[in-house]
Amino acid sequence: MPNTNLEILPVKARYPWNRVIGGIASLILIGFLASSIGSVDIPLLQSVKIVINKLPGIELPTSWSNEWETILWQLRIPRVVLAAIVGATLAMSGATYQGVFRNPLADPYLIGVAAGAGLGATVMLATPLGNLMSITTFLPIAAFVGALLAVFITYSVAKNTGGLPITTLILAGVAVSSLMAAATTLIMMLGDDDLRPILSWLLGGFIEANWTKCALTVIYVLPAAALIVIYGRVLNVMQLEEGHANQMGVNTERTKFLLILGASLATAGAVSFSGLIGFVGLIAPHAVRLIWGTDYRTLIPMAALSGAGILIIADLAARTIISPTELPVGVVTAFFGAPFFLYLLRRGIRFGL
């Protein structure tokens, strides 16, 4: 046996703070750039000043017009922030579903969770139920119920075919998505109200973003994110075959239950205030695996930051490409995400790239 020096391998068991901080810094830069671009261009430096001026206790000499301030603070920044939160949420949930199902193609959109959340939300919006309760408060809860219903159906169908093969989960997700979408359409058509708000909401987008929506989304996403981050190390062990993970001391049933619950809650929160946006949960985690490897403790925060960046940029594209008309942001993500999905299928489904 070679007499190897045990010191050669450094202990790397530390939180990847440098990466996370670098990611946050890049994200802030992307956010300011995106906020500055639009039908009215605002110089980047002025945007930064306007935002700094909003911080408590700071008064900068005003060198900008009120119009800029309103556009930035009331429209663009809430929109960028909401896009960031939703992008981070979808990427985090995607990475979590991928880890729990040991399936590199799992994504809130592809396994039917997003459609389920959409159905739940539509029930609130289009039926008398919505008149009985405060919509903004209960919308995410209804979406959560729908999301859980969808993931439960997808998972139990795929599980019963034995060993949860990768393609079965996705096929089950496609069927569940179609079913949920059909039910959503039916409910919409039965209601006699104006359908346009629901329709535009379902297509996905941040046109009606405001600070309240940002705050409400965070309320649902934050507890889920905390849970998922805490389970990062265990998610690594969960990549082993289930009995093996159990022999390593993981309560696999409880872990799966909690993580699916968390990812679905976060997805429901995001879907409630942004509609259905696909593929972010697929692209971001794969890109992060390529760059920083498969450790879920790094993967989860970095995927969230990347997802946030991706969706800010996608939303910027959605509102500028054919300006003054806006594209639904889901169209932009699908244009990049669907070919990426096909690429993953083509070269053989596996984690990483």
Binding site: M1, P2, T4, L6, L9, V11, A13, R14, Y15, R102, I230, Y231, R233, V234, N236, V237, Q239, L240, E241, G243, H244, N246, Q247, M248, G249, V250, N251, T252, R289, G293, T294, D295, R297, R350, F351, G352
Partner: protein, 257 residues
Amino acid sequence: MLKLQDVRFSYQGTDVLRGIDIEVAGSEVVGIIGPNGAGKTTLLNLISGVIKPSTGDVLINSKASAEYPPSERARLVAVAPQTPPLPEWYKVIDLVLMGRNAHLKLYDWESKNDYEVVLNAMQMTDTLQFADRAITTLSGGERQRVVIAMAVAQETPLILLDEPTANLDIAHQSKVLDIVAAAQRKRQGSVIIAMHDLSLAAQYCDRLIMLAEGVVHADGPPVDVLKPEIISRAYCTEVIVMRHPTAGSPVVVGRRK
């Protein structure tokens, strides 16, 4: 430490185990042998609590194995399954670090001590040299040693190895068995090894338990268990038993008809 009382296990209407009584106490290296389908892997899965007996008790420190919370059980029993699927793209060291899971709290990161244990386990199994490589790049035998390293890193009083030598070359067969057995003796623990190779089992085990048709066919020191008439009855074939020229342990070879 370990006690099985009248353990029966049926799977889809077939009786795999039909009344097993085994006790392992103190520090022992126990080999589980027997023909294909005798229930060796099932027995290991029952001990590790992944499956429950249909009737009877599998007791670890007087408590039913399946009743333990997984993390507590994983501090008592470690398992190296036979060719388990491993997540591609994980580095070898990250896999072996998973062995420390049962000793860590949910939000804990591996400490310096955990790393020392892991590196030590990798040195014992001769896997340290590819610590930084992705698991996909390893051969079958190398993967098998990584799986054993994961179990060793759990630092448990009882280690279960399922066909640990099936893919190993002759050098690594004796090296891995020797070192795992020595490490367990040092911490007053035991190893239970399911094996096909009777001569190898005889060489490394203090005690052999031969399963056949779901019951304990023979149980005792290798010289008492590996007798031609006992083996012939269990395996339904003629064998010749010789003595190992240096170790003195029984060597079993088949007889050509």
